[in-house]
């Protein structure tokens, strides 16, 4: 169980995290979603006591992280797989962690096996590891103390498709056993396949949270024609709430039948007509990303016009 209450962190007046509250429940995988620079990593660093918050509190298993007597035994943390001494071997990094937690050495071998690092790989220095291998090692460190909570920042980065599949199964199993999983990502589709609950953050603020079903639930009708703008006008003329989406389709707050009928009445041939699946979340996420992206669409158009 992780509870974040009114958490804020500002740097010189600039709010990186602004009044963020959410919780991650046991038995569930909570996806922490947001574009780069939205405040995910800052929030996670505050959670584990690496960054002092400006305001607010975080409790993990009912305590402040600093008050956990032996944090590694209760909370597995992976914030940055590359933050390891390049000159240590993978096995040595796990051994140090095991010694800190007071665990037997045999646990190191168990974990290496669990994350599929071979003894030869474990004996190599981390300098020679690929990002995927570092992520596996980081997951092994997080799982080492048999924790009840996992806090993982972008754990799928650098993993190949098989690795992502492996991690998905691993986290699913962990949550099914009653553990709490919080993982961040800037990719909606990556988190969509694994999370039960979603917390969406943008520019330091929570913009949506709820179960995946709720957030991705059908939100009206998606309809497409050769001329999206004309279609939107026609639907609006028929009294429907409709707006064109970024990719030329139209999103209408109406059922399939009324949208199809209205289009037919206006004589516009449809290329696609279906229930919009989670378009709201997707669009919201895209607009969030567009706000923070340097190469925004508008920017490009302006450049072309000049």
């Amino acid at each position: 169980m992780i509870t974040v209450e009114s958490l804020s962190k500002s740097y010189g007046g600039q709010a990186a995290v602004d009044d963020v509250s959410f919780s991650a429940a046991p038995g569930r995988v909570t996806g922490f979603l947001g574009p780069n620079g939205a405040g995910k990593s800052t929030t996670m660093r505050v959670m584990v006591g690496l960054t002092p918050p400006t305001r607010g509190d975080v409790h993990v298993l009912g305590r402040r992280f600093q008050d956990l007597p032996d944090p590694g035994r209760e909370v597995g943390v992976l914030l940055d797989a590359s933050a390891q001494h390049a000159g240590r071997t993978g096995r040595e990094i796990l051994t140090i962690a095991a010694l800190t937690m007071g665990l037997p050495r045999s646990r190191v071998d168990e974990m290496l096996q669990r994350v599929s690092l071979t003894p030869a790989e474990a004996g190599r220095r981390v300098r020679n590891y690929s990002l995927g291998m570092r992520q596996r090692l980081g997951i092994a460190t997080a799982l080492l103390g048999d924790p009840q909570v996992l806090i993982l920042d972008e754990p799928a980065n650098g993993l190949d498709p098989a690795g992502i599949r492996w991690m998905r199964d691993l986290l699913r199993g962990f949550a099914d056993d009653g553990g709490t999983v919080l993982l961040s990502s800037h990719l909606l589709h990556e988190i969509e396949v694994i999370a039960d609950d979603l917390v969406v953050i943008g520019n330091g603020r929570i913009v949506a949270q709820g179960t995946k079903q709720e957030l991705l639930a059908s939100a009206g009708t998606l309809v497409r024609a050769a001329d999206g703008a004309a279609l939107a006008v026609a639907l609006q003329a028929a009294g429907l709430i409709a707006r064109p989406t970024a990719d030329g389709a139209v999103l209408a707050d109406a059922d399939l039948t009324s949208v199809g009928t209205a289009a037919f009445a206006a004589g516009i041939p449809l290329l696609e007509l279906r229930a919009a699946d989670g378009a709201r979340l997707e669009e919201m996420f895209l607009s969030l990303t567009a706000d923070t992206q340097r190469e925004s669409v508008q920017h490009v158009t302006e450049g072309a016009a000049a």
Partner: protein, 270 residues
């Protein structure tokens, strides 16, 4: 944009409540920090160089010092010189590498009380300083025995326990300077450069000043930790000299260590 839904709690499987683990004992942190000083290639060779350089310095003394003049002091100072460079480096890297290599992220999530980790590093540093000096001293003893027997003269032991203890103390001060710089600067290159400025540049400036300024020549040791420390190597300190050492150590060591530690405890670890 206003879709704020309270997360559902259906399907929640509460994990069986487990006993809260015991707090991490300080001895465990000590063991881990000791291990971390040896378990990288650079760390290992830094430690090994303590022994290697002692041996090289002893052999050089046998070769280059006139056989009739061979005394233990020759060996002690030959062996001591590389120690005064290596030991502070060991102390600096013990702290700064956590930042340079970003291992602080893991270290301080496994032990969220940074003060305990720093305390463990300080204890290990002082311990390594003492052991290294004893090893270096022992190598010097062997060098003196071998050297004098080659020369066919009686070995001369002109350094007593008191002198040796003073030499150890002088090196420990150097290590604590290194530890302080590691804590205050949290960067390996920065702290190493700062140490060399302190140990190599400042003494020259200070003695130049003492050459022209009578007041500084008289009172310098109160303010110059290098000066106050150097006397540990070659004289029996008087009460006033000890007081000067103590006062200079407050300026150079204690105060910056306190400020640096305070800043480190509150800093953001990235």
């Amino acid at each position: 944009m206003s879709t704020t839904i309270v997360p559902g709690t259906s399907g929640t499987v509460p994990r069986e409540s487990r006993p809260v683990p015991d707090p991490i004992p300080f001895t465990r942190i000590l063991r881990v920090e000791l291990r971390k000083m040896f378990d990288t290639r650079s760390g290992f060779w830094l430690m090994a160089s303590v022994v290697l350089l002692s041996v090289i310095a002893s052999v050089a003394t046998v070769i280059f010092v006139d056989a009739d003049d061979l005394t233990y002091e020759h060996f002690a100072s030959a062996v001591g010189a590389p120690m005064s460079v290596i030991l502070p480096m060991i102390a600096i890297l013990a702290v700064s590498s956590e930042w340079s290599q970003r291992t602080a992220l893991t270290t301080f999530t496994l032990v969220p009380h940074r003060g305990r980790v720093l305390a463990a590093k300080a204890v290990i540093t002082v311990l390594i300083g003492a052991v290294s000096m004893l090893v270096a001293g022992a190598v010097g003893v062997v060098g003196n025995l071998v050297g004098t027997s080659i020369a066919g003269v009686d070995p001369s032991w002109d350094i007593g326990v008191r002198e040796f203890a003073q030499i150890i103390l002088a090196n420990e001060i150097g290590m604590l300077m290194g530890l302080m710089l590691g804590i205050a600067l949290r960067s390996s290159p920065g702290a190493i450069v700062a140490y060399f400025v302190y140990a190599l540049v400042l003494p020259g400036a200070s003695s130049a000043l003492a050459g022209t300024q009578d007041w500084w020549a008289e009172n310098g040791p109160w303010f110059d930790l290098n000066w106050a420390t150097m006397r540990l190597f070659d004289e029996n300190l008087t009460g006033e000299m000890w007081a000067q050492l103590g006062v200079a150590a407050v300026f150079w060591l204690a105060v910056p260590l306190l400020i640096g530690t305070r800043a480190l405890l509150r800093s953001e670890v990235k």
